[in-house]
Symmetry: C2
Subunit: 422 residues, 2 copies
């Protein structure tokens, strides 16, 4: 949607993965739009359906029920969030409303509440269409899920692109201007004149139906499911942004609502609801976002998350170039790698790189290495694909593993007196 708002994507219909008609054309699939399920009767295995046009109610039986209710934008409990000019960005309709507002109201100044990935994408989007942009973030850094040093690189870049970053500040109210639409955003640090405000402080799982049906909730209030995507109530499954999952590194229940995960779970739960026995292993907290010309991504655990999960993390940081100097088009990237000292196992990676550095795919190399439990030592010898147009002869992930082995070796040495066995 940020790309539709900026005009990179011309037609909002192209954002819809599959149209209703495509589902209806499948054998045995029926789709009811403008119908709402108001109640789940788990004892009699049926749902109460309201036809939103006629108002008529009916009960539909099920043998297996999937709750795929998703997540909704968090609207902060502040005055003025319902003013014209204040928008969340969660549904396709939100982006149409924003686009319409840009056209009809010609706003000049936008305030984005939240400097997470949506805040970054929308900073770029609003700058692209010519708005002045301020981002207000409670944390003292942009991209709160990244380490502070890498986040500082992102901040420097977006400030260079003209984005005003207000960190460590809370939004306290949205005030109307003389025309009755948004005029000011009041923050803990002062006032911002604003014609448009975007609420990008996160999402929450939609669980009303689930709780009413007696389905157990888990971490962050999401619907608790097992690896088969079964809820606590027999016959009821949940998947996607409304459901919990597991962090494969910590083994703990987690809630990481992302489209890439939802798609995988959707495929799996469909199999299981029809007699399959597939198990979703969980996620490792991978995320990537484009912030102007920067790629900002992470996977696995940060150093502090690793400590919290009981590991003994070692970190290395490096700056790398994606190609040898003699070949045109190389990009610079910063990479941070986290491993567990006693075992050498890779735990996490973070990248901030120019688009041309293909940092997100170097991150993906670590996604697989971390998932597979490779150690830093083993990762030194990955037989990655090399030719001058694509990478350096020893590519970034291998260099990072070299550095990590050096650091772990050094640490291990310094601990020898204490009897560390390696």
């Amino acid at each position: 949607m940020p790309y539709f708002i900026s005009g990179v994507t011309a037609d909002h219909n192209s954002l819809i993965s599959r149209k209703v008609e495509e589902f209806r054309s499948l054998n045995g699939v029926d789709v009811f739009t403008r119908h709402r399920v108001d109640e789940v009767d788990a004892v009699n295995m049926r749902v109460k359906v309201v036809d939103l046009d006629s108002g008529g109610e009916s009960w539909a039986d099920y043998t297996r029920l999937l709750l795929a209710t998703g997540a909704s934008a968090v609207i902060p409990p502040l005055e003025g969030t319902d003013l014209p000019g204040v928008f969340p960005l969660r549904k396709l309709e939100d982006s149409l409303s924003i686009k319409e507002f840009l056209k009809s109201n010609r706003p000049r100044r936008a305030v984005i509440v939240g400097a997470g990935p949506i805040g970054m994408e929308m900073s770029e989007s609003f700058r692209t269409v010519g708005l002045e942009v301020s981002v207000v973030e409670m944390a003292d850094q942009v991209m709160p899920y990244m380490d502070g040093d890498l986040a500082a690189r992102v901040q420097a870049q977006i400030e260079k692109e003209g984005v005003n970053c207000l960190l460590g500040q809370r939004v306290e109210a949205f005030e109307a201007g003389p025309d009755g639409a948004l005029g000011k955003v009041i923050t803990s640090g002062g006032e911002l004149e604003a014609d448009l405000a975007l609420l990008a402080i996160g999402v929450k799982p939609v669980t009303d139906l689930a709780t009413a049906a007696g389905v157990e909730l888990g971490v962050k209030g999401a619907i608790r499911v097992d690896g088969h995507m079964r809820t606590s109530v027999p016959g009821i499954y949940a998947a996607g942004d409304c459901a919990t999952t597991r962090n494969v590194l910590t083994g703990r229940e987690a809630w990481v609502p992302l489209g890439s995960t939802s798609r995988k779970q959707g495929r799996l739960v469909a199999d299981n609801m029809f007699g399959g026995d597939a198990e979703f292993p969980g996620v490792q907290g991978t995320a990537v976002v484009k912030a102007f010309d920067l790629t900002v991504g992470r996977t696995g655990l940060s150093g502090s998350e690793a400590v919290e999960a009981g590991f003994e993390p070692v970190e290395i940081s490096m700056e790398a170039e994606s190609l040898h100097a003699y070949y045109p088009g190389r990009g610079v990237m910063d990479l941070k790698l986290v491993a567990d000292l006693p075992t050498g196992r890779l735990l996490g990676a973070q990248v901030v790189g120019e688009m041309s550095s293909v940092a997100e795919k170097r991150l993906d190399i670590f996604v697989v290495a971390i998932r597979a439990g490779l150690t830093a030592d083993e990762s030194q010898y990955l037989d990655l694909a090399y030719a001058p147009p694509y990478s350096t002869a020893v590519d970034v992930p291998v260099i990072a593993a070299n550095l990590m082995v050096g650091k772990i070796g050094g640490k291990a040495c310094s601990c020898n007196g204490e009897g560390l066995e390696r």
Copy 2:
């Protein structure tokens, strides 16, 4: 060097990773250029060194000796390979000679002998500088290490770029023209008028010193080393293009001379020669090359190699787009994946994709998955980094794993009657 010849790389000095002076500036490192080692006396642990300028000979003692003699271009035993206008492309000097010849002789028609990766790179290079290009290849496809169907895609592309592909033909002689330089290339299929010929039929390990020293050779005549890069003679190591390695999938001795491998081995053998105990695990036959706008790569085993190695391979092929339709700049790639039927373990992958498809990094994802022994089932749930500018919500490797699981499942089903245990 192909990029220096085409002008993409302006300065040949930028192709040199480290200059002699850089090595000399290191503490404890001395470098003798224009000196040749003529003999290894393994009993007394010394080498005979000839000063090429003075002609003087001397003996130098060693406690550890590294043979890093590399590989040299294979020059076919045919008439006319020494004619002006006939070149190998192995040493930096070769590229300087070719560049000089282009300038002084203004050739119009080039014949490239061999349609492997160097042949592909040089086809692009010679087309870029305006030559007519014919490629003569003994095999009945270009890129002989790729599967035939994918190679056909490469052939179609290079033919579209004006390269004349002569497959299933042997070069029989190089004939001089009236000026004494190359005039014709005689092949098993006829004659080609040519002002320039490039020999790109491969390399062979340089092992004269090793054999004279009584060092054992291995597969393809390369110097046999163990995982520590030790030869059969105590105190003598070998690494890089002159040495054997192991294929991690088959466990067999292999010789796959590539710069990326040499660099890793160089680092490791230096550690080991100074008391380290690191072991090089081997390679998995990863290779990638740019052929005009196509990325052509492979890792692991092809279907036929897998059969030969005792596996029971299943293959899937797919065409994929690197991004969703709504985001600009996506590229198309063909991907082939090979897995082992009884275990589901991934064995190999091949890609041919437009440069914009970033096929080489999707290949790298499989490099790690294959190295780590992941199954197709496990690879379905890789938590790869997704955002619209980078990939599809379910990225190509995961879709490929989905297809593979479907195919293995189907195969397993069809074998149920025969009692296949899965």
